[in-house]
Amino acid sequence: MQKMRINIYKELRHFSLEVALRIEEGEFIAIRGRSGSGKTTLLRVIAGLEEARGVIEIGNRRWLEDRKALPPQKREVGFVFQEYALFPNMSVLQNLLYVKKDLGFALHLLKLVDLLEHKNSFPHQLSGGQQQRAALARAYMRRPKVMLLDEPLSSLDPATRGYLQTKIKELHQAFGTITLMVSHDVAEIYRLSSRVVEIEQGKVVQEYGAKEIGKRHQLHKAEVVEIDEKSIVVAFMGDIFRLPRKGSHKVGDIVEVEIKELQLV
């Protein structure tokens, strides 16, 4: 079990990514921010998939020192992509064994994510949730020191998402791996993480305990379904609400709303 220190700098197209973080042993950190704020780039820099300057240190091992970077192959990270990224030419079990020829451990992981009976299936034969569970198990095959989850559940339906959250939590408890997860989902962040790091334009703007997220998070996403002169009608949490119109919208737009301004239609 080791602590982690990140202090990186990278020029992006419109701003620079400057992030300093200290992460305790086994911590589960949620990274939030608007799209394009640099969250995914941060994970990719930690994984060694993109260059940056600065320091990334885990225990007494340095993955990045100024510009001297260890390649992803030597970093002992697990990475779960939003789109699963399983190898299409390999079965679920082969996907795991490709990482490390350890059949016992592979079967143990597949059991943890309830995929033993699908071990010989190919990715295209699995549902999205099953593919993501396989990707999760594969990411643990190297017994990584750091697990990076890049919006792993965003393309799944709510029921599957809840189940996957349980699996992520169980794996995190079983291995105690430092985990950084990019997520927009308040419920997911509350359930899984211990600390939230908010990023805007490449900089950390807030850090707080995950249990505070309900207080911090005032805005919710809703879909515009009707517009008139003074108000807009939105669909939110399975109901239809009216609220004052503030800007120009069109039907189908996703807008951020505050619960207190919603009036049930």
Binding site: G78, N89, V99
Partner: protein
């Protein structure tokens, strides 16, 4: 590949697509001649003469058919999702292992397409093999040249037989490619 020389390499490889085969054949003949530096070097290293010989035909055909092989492979490679390549790196694998176990198996279709089309294109070649090979019977005379010579001698029966074989073969090859692609898009 972000190399600045990429357009240059691509242009050189695609040249045989637009160049008259006789031009390519002529330059190859000059370059590979026994008294040329390249010809001498090859003779010294491998003990073969490439002009008017079967090995020469093979070399000339490889160069001539290069774009038919390279372009589908390049398209297949570019179509491989970036994240599965990265997933392989994150699994601790280097470029070579990633290429062999992840990239190539996932572009089997492009590979097969490239092989079939290149094969078909090579057996039908005329200009380059005539100039570099010289159409020596039993040695460098190929079907397409034989047809030309039979027509010149007014031996239409033989020309018909050879031509029919070539038509059948080309049709079959294309049929295989299109049938396979249609199957893929279903």
């Amino acid at each position: 590949m972000r190399c600045r020389c990429k357009p240059f390499i691509e242009a050189v490889i695609a040249m045989p697509l637009v160049l008259p085969p006789s031009v390519l054949g002529f330059y190859l003949l000059v370059a590979l001649a026994p008294d040329s530096p390249v010809g001498k070097l090859i003779k010294e290293l491998f003990g073969v003469e490439l002009v008017f010989s079967f090995p020469g035909l093979v070399v000339a055909s490889i160069l001539y058919s290069m774009p038919f092989m390279v372009q589908p492979l390049q398209r297949g490679f570019e179509a491989t999702p970036k994240n599965i390549i990265e997933a392989s790196f994150l699994a601790g694998k280097g470029w070579l292992q990633t290429l062999i176990f992840v990239i190539l198996p996932n572009m089997k279709g492009s590979l097969l397409n490239a092989l079939i089309i290149t094969f078909a294109h090579t057996i039908g070649e005329f200009g380059v093999v005539l100039i570099v090979g010289g159409s020596i019977p039993e040695k460098t005379k190929v079907a397409s040249i034989a047809i030309y010579e039979y027509v010149e001698m007014l031996d239409f029966t033989s020309a018909h037989i050879y031509s029919a074989i070539m038509v059948a073969m080309s049709f079959l090859v294309l049929l295989v490619v299109y049938a396979k692609n249609a199957h893929k898009h279903l």
